[in-house]
């Protein structure tokens, strides 16, 4: 579309202003994390080219972020592997097979996409406590597997439904079993959809706050965002180490986003029934 030169320049100003607006809180954190330490710290931290990278090591030690990050990685990896695996199976059934009750069952799964954690976390905590399962890895991971399976089923079903029907028919005529059709014909083709699902589930699990907050009191089982929230409560002498901790917590997902942003954006826009 042809527009005047003035309008074009105005567009650049708007682009720049909003990009800056989106970045300011993030830059605030980065600047503080790389700045000189607080007075309460253990003295001057190591600096490189004016960037005080020593803040990160100090925050890592003072805030126990090593433990939290390990827990977060374990939870996220397990939730991703289990829920994506189960979603591929259930999505395959919903997307390519006809069976009695399929519509009703599918709506049941859809319910889980919209169901807020707030509703289920209360009974889950008390029931898992009765079973002696609170304060375990499982109490943090399994509810999130369930939430991700609800979305994953919806996501994989949509993909398998759109994937070529004739391809499946041809494979069947060749005498391929369902298992072979799924794993050797459909899954290799579905790789982009599966990567998107992996990326979304990883992000949701990594950033989840309420479930670990409720399920876990043992410090060694805290996830990274939970650890950061507690660190904020305890460490009040200044902002530098808190900011460094915040950067540590945000980095894995942000780094993944920078590499796979198409998957993030497409996934969150297309799969936007969730959240």
């Amino acid at each position: 579309m042809r527009v005047s030169r003035a309008e074009r320049s105005a567009n650049y100003v708007i682009l720049f202003a909003f990009a800056l607006f989106a970045l300011i809180p993030i830059l605030t954190i980065l600047q503080a994390a790389l700045g000189p330490g607080d007075s309460a710290g253990t003295g001057e931290t190591a600096s490189f080219a004016g960037l005080h990278l020593g803040n990160f090591t100090e925050a890592w030690q003072v805030g126990h972020f090593g433990t939290y990050m390990r827990m977060s990685f374990m939870v996220s990896a397990s939730v991703v592997v289990v829920s994506v695996g189960l979603s591929i199976l259930s999505g395959f059934a919903f997307g390519t097979m006809r069976f009695r009750g399929s519509t009703a069952l599918f709506y049941l799964f859809l319910l889980g996409i919209m169901m807020p954690s707030e509703a289920i976390v209360v009974p889950l905590y008390f029931d898992l406590r009765t079973l002696g399962l609170t304060d375990t890895f499982w109490a943090v991971a399994l509810p999130q597997v369930a939430q991700s399976v609800a979305f994953g089923t919806f996501w994989m079903r949509a993909y398998f439904r759109s994937s070529s029907r004739s391809l499946i028919e041809a494979a069947r005529l060749d005498g391929a079993s369902n298992r072979r059709i799924l794993w050797q014909v459909l899954v290799p083709l579905a790789r982009p959809a599966i990567v998107t699902l992996i990326v979304l589930v990883f992000m949701w699990t990594w950033n989840e706050f309420l479930i670990p907050l409720v399920m876990v009191t043992d410090e060694s089982l805290r996830t990274a965002p939970l650890g950061l929230a507690f660190f904020q409560g305890q460490y009040t002498q200044g902002f530098t180490l808190l900011a460094a901790g915040a950067v540590i917590v945000a980095t894995p997902v942000v780094a993944l986003y920078l590499f796979l942003q198409r998957h993030f954006i497409a996934g969150m826009l297309e799969g936007s029934v969730r959240e």
């Binding site: 993030i26 189960l86 169901m115 707030e118 399976v149 920078l258």
Partner: protein
């Protein structure tokens, strides 16, 4: 003729039936055990007066009556409505303006812009809250900015102020959602047929008429999606409130999700917390159903 009889139960060729249940089973077991069953249990618990330790007492719908009548809970739901303005209304209005301006001219750097404005969506809400707490602090950058332009009279501890804490929390929501909404609307506007604009221009339409006659009706579906997402996000605000204000000062920023946590795990009023959780679920289902219906009617 061969094999006709043997296929009788199978239905359409190549459409196996019972094996489907086997593929569904593992997903369904986890889903039922950790989402469906807890939801039913939440409904059950919400009918009791229970402190989480001793035996509960059946009180019927009293907890729900409290949701409707209790001053504190009513204001919590009222605060959620205020948050909807910040999470949904403002981002959609700003996003519509922003996207339609950007859509008119092909500017360079649009994909970089998209990457940047979408970034808030992937940062953990706890990190976002830590950043904004800093900005809103009495010695934070917002107050320094106000001081620098001579508006010292406006400086305050934003999150500790009875009148300003809720809008301050809400503004974080606007910041968080504007990128998502803009990217969503940009994608929608990119699909509009250029001939529609040509036709509008031949009719002598200016940018404003063009927006109302062509752009707005074409992205009705995207607006419905954006509305659903952001309204639900407003209703589910927990991390942000927990880290920034914990519902304070007083209860000026308490929201339903925070009340669920507060009552169940800090006050020992588990039945009431479950009732709030169930009410929240019903409201969310109703809203997404209503918006989807309206969106569907708009597009068809």
């Amino acid at each position: 003729m061969v094999g006709r009889g043997s296929r009788r139960d199978v239905g359409p060729p190549g459409e196996p039936r019972r094996i489907a249940y086997l593929y569904l089973l593992p997903a369904f077991i986890v889903y039922a055990a950790f989402l469906l069953y807890p939801l039913l249990r939440a409904v059950q618990i919400s009918l009791y007066d229970w402190d989480g330790l001793t035996l509960g007492r059946w009180i019927g719908l009293d907890n729900y009556r409290e949701v409707l009548t209790d001053e504190g809970l009513r204001s919590a739901f009222g605060h959620a409505l205020v948050l909807m303005v910040f999470f949904a209304l403002i981002p959609i209005v700003v996003g519509l303006l922003l996207a339609s301006v950007l859509n008119r001219a092909k500017v360079r750097g649009l994909s970089f812009f998209r990457t940047v404005v979408f970034l808030p969506q992937v940062v953990a809400m706890v990190v976002v809250a830590v950043a904004w707490r800093r900005i809103y602090a009495p010695d934070g950058s917002l107050n320094s900015l106000l001081g620098a332009v001579g508006l010292d009279s406006l400086t305050r501890g934003w999150l500790g102020d009875y009148d300003f804490a809720l809008p301050a929390v809400g503004f974080v929501g606007s910041w968080f959602e504007i990128g998502l909404v803009t990217v969503l609307l940009l994608a929608g506007m990119g699909r509009i047929n250029g001939e529609l604009y040509e036709a509008a221009r031949l009719d002598g339409a200016g940018p404003v008429r063009e927006f109302f006659a062509v752009t707005l009706p074409s992205v009705r579906g995207e607006i419905a999606v954006a509305l659903t997402l952001t309204v639900i996000a407003a209703l589910r605000t927990f991390d942000l409130v927990y880290v920034t204000t914990r519902g304070g000062p007083g209860n000026s920023t308490s929201v339903p999700s925070y009340e669920v946590y507060h009552r169940a795990f800090e006050l020992g009023r588990v039945g009431s917390a479950a009732a709030i959780g169930v009410s929240l679920t019903i409201v969310i289902f109703a809203i997404s159903f209503a918006i989807t219906r309206i969106g569907d009617r708009g597009t068809s």
